[in-house]
């Protein structure tokens, strides 16, 4: 389900949360750091803004099976 966050690269800056036009990405606390997660995956418009703006290149886009197969 896009986007996918690569936690080894993510610094938890929260920019993806700030700019997501769907309000789909939220931050949560995990092992004393702040990490992004996709709270509303169905509402992602696949605009790619999060991937474009991520300063660490920690976001990849993976389309779900329904979009790839119909």
């Amino acid at each position: 389900m896009p986007p996918t966050f690569y936690m080894k690269k993510c610094t938890g800056c929260g920019l993806c949360d700030s700019i997501c036009p769907a309000d789909a990405i939220y931050m949560k606390e995990f092992e004393d750091t702040s990490v992004p997660y996709l709270k509303y995956p169905d509402e992602c418009w696949h605009c790619g803004s999060c991937r474009q703006d991520c300063p660490e290149g920690a976001i990849e886009i993976q389309f779900p099976p329904d979009m790839l197969c119909i």
Partner: protein
Amino acid sequence: MELIDLSADVLIIGGGLAGTNAAMGAAEKGASVLVADKGNINRSGDIGGGVDHFMAFLNEGQEWDTQNAFLDYVETIGRGTGHLSIIESVYCAELPDAIERMARIGNPLTQADGSFYRTQSMGQPGTYWINFNGKRLKPCLGKAVRKLGCTVLDKVMMVNLLTHQDAVVGGIGFHIRSGSFYILQTKATVIATGNTNRLYENPRINPFNTWLCPFDTGDGQIMALNAGAALTNMEYMRMTLLPKGFAAPGFNALVGMGGRFLNSLGEYYMEKHHPMGNRAPRYEVVYFTLEEIRKGHGPIYIDCRHLNEDDLIHLEASLGYDKDTLPDYFEQRKEDLRTKPVEITVSEGMQAGPTEVTGSGIKIDKDSAATVPGLFACGDASDHNRCVHGAVTGGYKAGKSAATYAKGLAHGDGAPKSIIREEIDLFMKPLHRPSGYPYRQIEDAIRKIMAEHVGPMRTKGSLKCGLEKLQRIESYLDEMKATNFHELMRAHETRSILSVGKVMATTALFRTESRNKPYHHRLDFPDTDNTNWCGLVVFRKDGDRLSCSFEPTN
């Protein structure tokens, strides 16, 4: 709940392409400006992730490349759906400054060598599309707006306009994370909230998998309507052609470069049906594609295999400008433009302008003013702006006009706060119900009703049935439950979507002819009647009374 009171000369509702240009227009005229957006203005709206096209005449010497030729084109494909005098004022007159402004903020419409890369499609007499890399356009606009000193309220959804003595004097809304409630008192207000999506059942399953921004839900049009403003062209159900599983724009790029529409019989059907072939107006392409599918000639494809190497290289390099993730989609779906046609299909329906050059929504005049004092509109939410070019030019125009209006007023005397406080509880109600229906359950029903009864093949009977069912589902709006402010936002969007659906069905019932089929196709009145219907259907709400009237454009 925290209450935040702010005041300024101008409030911009919606910080997409039109809204950010409006903010620049107002601020550069010296006004103090508030911008409220459900998202973050750096990436919100239809082109948040990027864009690749801008329509313009450039006076570069060709006969078709002038203002007069452009207005002839508007008249030809618009078929009476817009006043040329207004388009001249809000688009043509603003065009040179708009092109300069995009360069000034750091995202020029030119290629690296300073030239314009121009393509032709959608019934244009020449290469009116400027193909460019607009992936940084929204971040650049967001930066420019903040640099001009505008107060930007990201993640704030406006839910109602404030009126006082029959004029609009600001608006109220809430922060979609914190729930803080904003009371924004301004002398002038500009609505720039885009068109209405998530309105029809989606052929790609997920209602958020839409061509245009799924977070544009007609909020501004309905706020304006409730404040007494007139709407026009609301009967048009816009559609386009898109990749089968992903509602990514790309039509302009593919057809502009020479892509050909292909049916499953191996026929390039548009070349048979229309003198302009694949470059026919969009509504004609959609109409004939629906016909092909109805005749059993589907699936439908777009074929780019014949393009020369230079064009293919340009296409592959620029395909992600309009939708950043489209190249990923093609790769993951194993599509290859060079070796096989790409399956496409007709998009979901939406409420939007009947062409790329005539809009729908809030009725505006030559100064982008709505029919209520203090209210202005631009972009896809207004009836004489459309698409990227309309948002950039018309947005700036609306901002300038709002600033001029605000300067001409004495110190604003806003709406009494006691009334505003009473309204706040009303808008928060879905949060406080112990139980209720999720917004999605109501919205899915609206989409089903719209698709089955208010779709591209309409009759008096279907539209009346659709209206009755929409009224039935309306009675459940007050039973929606939201568990957080995000869901509260979606619940308010559902209300707007339903209201737009009702306006659409009512105006479609009123226009007893067909125009720009399939965008308004009455099976019981299949012909275009230019004697009686060359013009705009104007919709108004006066208290509980709804009315339609006709305004000729000739």
